[in-house]
């Protein structure tokens, strides 16, 4: 291949991998104004070396003083999680602590509330609401946490069909959700779910993922509220702006992605088939990328042999076949549900590492772990027979914390 053709191939490869983004309308006026201002002002003179050194020394001394003063006030925050005592011969079991978390449902007198998400200021809760099965109708509802008001946002937006999985933007001004119009006879899980965003008052509802795109999953907001992470079936994880105009595939971002509070990293879970010492199984990983989904780093990795999971099968009394048992175990043994600490320097996650086939149920072997990004150290925080779930890290330094809902006081 000639040099010119090779150069063209390289250019084409780079353009495909990293397409040039469009310039915003009005960029020329902005540039002209900046140039006119620059032409009117004096030229910048290069600072003298002595000046640079003196300024640098002063800044270093100042920074050292400020760091010494501020360090004292930095608080790590508290890692909270739901810890459930499994039912056993000694009693029915019970919940040790309980938080409103995703995936929970409450039966109400009118229907079922599910997929709840508390607003960042803790004053409202957004949830999906449906009236029994079949699930061909569900609305996004926002309710004051003191139960003083309730608004049917989907109804206000004139939307029909099923809207679910609401998520507040970090500033509490918008809500992302999934929406689909079910066709007769179609199961909701097979429907073409799309990602939508609307204002918190129900106005401005618009579809984010393009028409005709594959089914999407629950979205996660970037800390600055400008982007959303979600999963497209058959494509993988994507990062999009709230209008769906700039969609980037993030191939290194796996399941259950979470942005770090400072927005510079994303943590997610990956798994892949593998074999160790002739034993087939699955590698499970916690992977951290930068805030754009690039530069992956595997921070935690553990191999689960199918044989070990099968050996833990309690038999048909579990109500599951062997295959179902192994599938369930693979979902639960982790590492999974990774979340960043408020200072973005640690990652908490759940995992049953190592999995002991002669031990209790795999759920009871799941413990809370901590990975330190600065030291690369992994530490186990819990070691008991409780079932740990719903990791949630809150900063003690802020009072913008959602209320803790007891099971005895569901939203309706």
């Amino acid at each position: 291949m000639s040099t010119d053709r090779f150069d063209e191939q390289i250019a084409s490869l780079l353009d495909t991998a990293e397409p040039t983004p469009e310039l915003q309308p009005g960029w020329e006026q902005r540039a002209m104004a900046a140039m006119a201002a620059a032409a009117a002002g004096p030229a910048r003179r290069a600072p003298r070396l002595v000046t640079v050194i003196v300024v640098a020394l002063v800044l270093m001394l100042l920074a050292a003083a400020v760091f010494a003063a501020v360090r004292y006030f930095l608080v790590e925050g508290t890692l909270r999680f739901t810890s459930v005592q499994p039912a056993g011969p000694g009693g029915p079991g019970g919940e040790v602590s309980h938080f409103l978390s995703q995936g929970e449902e409450w039966m109400t007198s009118e229907g079922i509330a599910f997929d709840a998400d508390i607003s960042p200021d803790g004053r409202e809760v957004a949830y999906s609401f449906r009236r029994g099965d079949p699930c061909d109708w569900a609305h996004i509802v926002v309710e004051k946490t003191d139960r003083s008001a309730i608004v049917d946002l989907s109804g206000k937006a004139g939307m029909h069909g099923v809207s679910c999985a609401p998520n507040w933007s970090p500033d509490g001004r918008m809500i992302s959700f999934m929406h689909f119009d079910p066709t007769p006879g179609q199961r909701p899980c097979n429907a073409e779910r799309h990602l939508w965003v609307m204002n918190a008052d129900g106005s401005g509802a618009h579809q984010v993922t393009p028409k005709g795109s594959p089914r999407t999953d629950r979205a996660h907001w970037s800390p600055d509220g400008s982007r959303l992470l979600t999963h497209l079936d058959g494509v993988g994880t994507i990062i999009t702006d709230i209008w769906g105009q700039h969609i980037e595939v993030a191939p290194y971002v796996g399941m259950n992605p979470r942005w770090s509070p400072d927005g510079t990293m994303i943590v997610s879970a990956h798994s892949r088939a593998g074999e160790v010492d002739g034993r087939p199984g699955q590698w499970h990983q916690v992977v951290v990328t930068d805030g754009n989904g690039n530069h992956p780093k595997v921070v935690v990795e553990h191999f689960f042999a199918f044989g070990d999971l099968e050996a833990g099968y309690p038999g048909p009394k579990s109500g599951k076949s062997l295959a179902e048992w192994v599938d369930d175990a693979l979902c639960y043994v982790g590492p999974r549900d990774a979340v960043f600490s408020p200072r973005s320097d640690k990652i908490a996650f759940l995992a049953a590492m190592p999995y002991d086939p002669s031990g209790p149920h795999f759920l009871s072997q799941v413990e809370v772990w901590l990975y330190d990004l600065n030291t690369d150290e992994t530490t186990r925080l819990t070691n008991d027979d409780m079932e740990q779930d719903s990791l949630f890290w809150r900063a003690e330094t802020t009072d913008r914390v959602g209320p803790e809902w007891e099971e005895s006081a569901p939203p309706r």
Binding site: T3, A38, M265
Partner: protein, 202 residues
Amino acid sequence: MAEADVTSVELPDEREATDRLLRGLHSAEPAAHAELCARFGRRLHRFAARRLRGDAELAEDIMVATLADGVRNIARFDPRRAVFSAWLFGIARRHVTAELRRQSRRKSVPASAQVSMHSLPEQHATGDVAEDVTGRIEAKRQVAMLREHLSEIEMEVLVLHCVDQLSLREIAQVVRRSERGIKSLLHRARQKARERLGADEH
């Protein structure tokens, strides 16, 4: 193999246009600002966006700042020492470097901690959107592979030449190296890229 640098010579028409542009910039004519914007705005934006991982807004800020710096400091530009486009790209490069340095001070995954993509699971795609996306994923994988095997400066020279269409002389001025050194770097970068892409196909 001798590799011709077809873009290394500024044609008389181009030189005359650049001279006219410089005269206009010296006398702060709005028409010259408009021409500067038209000739270099998109190229500088693309240059910055590629180095800032597609951050369009930041790239636009840097493009605007570069054009403004160019206008503000036009008296310091010496046509006997540098090509005008290279001088502008050099300003943009300094802005990008400063921005990347700012970003690196914020917490991020250290480069040394990056892992090979082969250790991550493959993703398969279906459908029209998926096909388009799959192509991009594959291209991203190949580019990441090139970045892994080419040094930072080799990759930069390759991109400046193939994508930004800068001549060897211009590249030498942008990255502040000798033209001879750039020629050697480009040759090595092409050779490594050929080997890696060739090996990848098999």
